[in-house]
């Protein structure tokens, strides 16, 4: 048990050296490390947002809005399908979570269903096969057809909307100039944005707080919004409110837009040459330019409306056909809001509104204080543990402390290699594992003392101490490991940081206490000569 093969000794020493080497960059500033020769490790332990300061935003996609949009499209598609198939219908509308329509002649019901069945799209991918359909088309009674999104369809739609939203958020956040931010999916309908070093979250919130769906609509030539709201809006038209600062006027606009934001290729903030007001100049792609050109040619002298997120920004009159495919939007912008909107338009619209469901921001001063506090607590904790251990176990206590030092280096090294971030709870976990790592040594040494008291020889007691304590160490550490893994699995944020440190700490503490300490004891015995050891310095 106490014997070590040469290759084992070399492997253990190399592991310890590697641990020290990988940990080394963490003791120096980033600038110093960057200047090191390339064969040295450069990687530093990334600090969590609570230590370096920064913003953490959890966003939820508005799935209701998404479903409403979908039902709207479904209604329009239904109308188109039935018209194309020349089937008469009435009562087309959205009822609850489905689209309902009645055919005028009941004998055309099956024909209508066949036409609407074409709207069904299978979900799934090429590898796993079909995961069902996105909508279900059912008939009820003699003349009614229902089109309802299936649960799988909704799930699929939310999932792809979240993917699209992540890309858009990424583009918007990157426009703020820092590349370190991360945007990841969390759960089914959430997005986590982490932005290290960010102090003022206002700009970030403005950027991601708006869907930024830009559309250009025709204004109804004769009927005003006021007239329309008294009677009923003509088919295909809808009343839109104006945005803030536009005097609260309403507009009656054609519902389907002439051109939408998807056809934009560029948007830049600027100033109007005459009024010096902030504006946004934009450029359409080819198809957008053609569509808008044709529209403006036919509507000279009439107003059109620029609509952002279903609110009218401005409704200028077309003085001459706009054929070049570029234009400008004005509408009581500030320099800041023009800037923000330009970024939003360039990065594309979000599939639905995002709301901030959780925000955690830590200022850099608190982060720096926490690092200092953590360092101090760590040093005091480690020192007092070391003093306690050495005073309790003498020379063997020194071996245990050397094991602890290896343990400390290995934790940091493993965390650096895995790229796990160090958080304040992580530091707490570190201090705690130091205390708990000593436990293994305590178990071994108490066992040695017991064996000595039972009358065993020094060498036999040492040997038995390591051997018998091993099972207990394994059992006790494995149970703690179980708790740590569950913490990691279920935990979020601070709990996770703590769990990672604890898990790594348990593994390295076994290595440090059992392997490293035993090696030191072995070397100590070898240096003395087995026969000369009559007393165990424990």
């Amino acid at each position: 048990m106490l014997h070590f093969e040469r290759w084992k000794i070399i492997a253990i020493v190399l592991t310890c050296l590697a641990g020290v080497l990988v940990t080394l960059p963490n003791f120096f500033s980033k600038e110093t490390v960057d200047a090191w020769p390339s064969w040295l490790p450069h990687r530093q332990l990334p600090l969590g947002l609570d230590l370096q300061g920064g913003a953490h935003l959890l966003l939820a996609l508005d799935t209701n809005e998404l479903q409403k949009d979908w039902l709207g499209t479904l209604r329009d598609d239904t109308r188109k399908q039935l018209r194309d198939a020349k089937i008469g219908f009435t009562g087309l509308g959205i009822i609850g979570n489905s689209v309902q329509v009645k055919v005028t002649k009941p004998e055309e019901l099956s024909k209508a269903k066949a036409a609407l069945d074409k709207l069904i799209m299978p979900i799934g991918n090429a590898i796993l096969g079909s995961g069902g359909n996105d909508i279900s088309v059912t008939t009820s009674g003699a003349d009614t057809i229902n089109l309802a999104p299936t649960p799988q369809g909704i799930q699929h739609r939310v999932s792809s909307a979240v993917s699209a939203a992540i890309e858009t958020v990424n583009r918007r956040v990157n426009a703020m100039g820092t590349a370190e931010s991360t945007v990841v999916r969390q759960g089914s309908d959430r997005i986590l944005v982490q932005f290290p070093g960010l102090q003022d979250t206002k700009q970030l919130k403005d950027l991601i707080g708006q869907t930024a769906k830009l559309t250009f609509h025709a204004v109804h030539p004769d009927i005003t919004a006021e007239e329309a709201s008294q009677t009923r809006a003509p088919v295909g038209y809808k009343v839109y409110p104006s945005g803030e600062g536009e005097g609260g006027r309403n507009y009656l606009l054609r519902e389907s837009p002439v051109v939408s934001g998807e056809d934009l290729v560029d948007a830049q903030p600027g100033f109007d040459q005459r009024t010096n007001e902030p504006i946004i100049s934009f450029r359409f792609n080819q198809s957008g330019a053609r569509k808008f050109g044709n529209f403006s040619k036919d509507n000279v002298g009439h107003p059109f409306a620029i609509v952002l997120d279903n609110k009218v920004l401005s409704a200028p009159v077309i003085r001459e056909p706009i054929l070049g495919g570029s234009g400008q939007i004005s509408g009581s912008f500030t320099v800041e809001s023009a800037n923000t909107l330009a970024v939003q338009l360039r990065s594309g619209a979000l599939p639905a509104k995002l709301t901030i469901v959780e925000e955690r921001t830590v200022g850099p001063s608190l982060g720096a204080d926490s690092i200092e506090a953590g360092k101090l607590a760590g040093i005091v904790g480690c020192l007092s543990t070391a003093i306690l251990t050495i005073s309790a176990y003498g020379t063997f206590g020194i071996f245990a402390v050397m094991g602890l030092i290896v343990h400390g280096f290995l934790i940091v090294a493993l965390m650096t290699m895995l790229g796990t971030t160090l958080t304040l709870p992580g530091i707490a976990g570190f201090v705690l594992t130091i205390g708990m790592a000593v436990d293994a040594n305590v178990l071994i040494y108490e066992r040695m003392r017991e064996e000595l008291r039972a009358g065993k020889s020094a060498i036999a007691a040492i040997d038995q101490g390591f051997q018998r304590a091993w099972i207990t160490i394994l059992d006790s550490q494995l149970t703690t490991l179980a708790a740590a893994i569950i913490m990691f699995w279920l935990g979020s944020g601070p709990i996770r940081g703590f769990a990672v440190t604890l898990t790594i700490g348990i593994l390295t503490s076994i290595f440090a206490a059992v392997t490293v300490t035993r090696l030191l004891v072995f070397l100590w015995i070898k240096s003395k000569g087995k026969a000369r050891i009559l007393e165990v310095p424990v």
Binding site: T361, L366, A373, A392, V431, T479, T480
Partner: protein, 346 residues
Amino acid sequence: MFFPVPDFKGFDFFPHNMRVPFMRYKGLCLIISIICMAVSLGLYFVVGLNYGVDFKGGSLIEVQHKNGPADLADMRQKLNALGIGSVQIQSFGSDSDVLIRVEQQAGDEIAQQQAMKKVIDTLGPEYTQRRIEVVGAAVSSELRRTGVIAVIASLLAISAYVWFRFEWQFAAGCVISLLHDVLVTVGVFAAFQLEFDLSIVAALLTILGYSVNDSVVVSDRIRENLRKYKRMDLTELLNLSINETLSRTILTGLTTIVGIIALLVFGGEVIRNFSFAMLFGIVIGTYSSMFIAAPLLGYLGVKREGVGVHTAAAAASKETSGGGSAATKVPAAGALAATNKAGRRA
């Protein structure tokens, strides 16, 4: 020449021939523990926990006055006039640091953001924001649920492991002592209305890990002694096992507690409650593995080779009728103590 380390013995803190009659107090300890658990449960349901924003929703902002102490009274007056519901203001760590809590706003997440904005605007530029936390209703209820699941799942996983490695009686003793640790810690948080947030759940889970660690060490020794002393009375055997591992229990407890005290004193305000939970939990965890987990085995009984299931209750009734202390009565223990002394002298 190889080792520049002088040979010296450590100071043996604890007398090893000590035989504290733990088992004699098992009934009393169980009653005290049951009362503590009941009181904790009562506090939890009647008084309730002082949940932090993680679990309650709402917002928290830590600000620091740029120069000089913060004017809490002025701040209280201004913020309460904002009409954003209850605003709690407390000094945090130093004179210039203030922690402001705003309750969960009626309406959606946007209302929360607006309330936060109002607070920041009202405080003005002489305060820097050190930390902002805004948690919505959906997220807070999820965090609460996963917190409870995490604690229960850990309990089950740990018990399953103990069951797998030992007999079911050990696992049962473990679960009850772990439950005791969690309940009493939660009870203390309810009694003193300390803020209960996500980090406290992490502390609870660590306490579970630590407490079971202790119980496993004792159980391991019990199992070993069951093989070693086939004829020894169960009560005496349990008592012997607790005593034999006592020095380890106390020393490990000390090293861990020393680390946690360092965290508590130097670790800063942010993790103060967390450190406190840990400190309390480690102490209570150590207590429970010695005074609940092992004594419960006495009631539940253990399967022993060739003798069947023994319960200490039966033995205890004999003992009381016979009178005298358990520690001196059983000859095996006395003989062992004697050999111990002999071994030491040699």
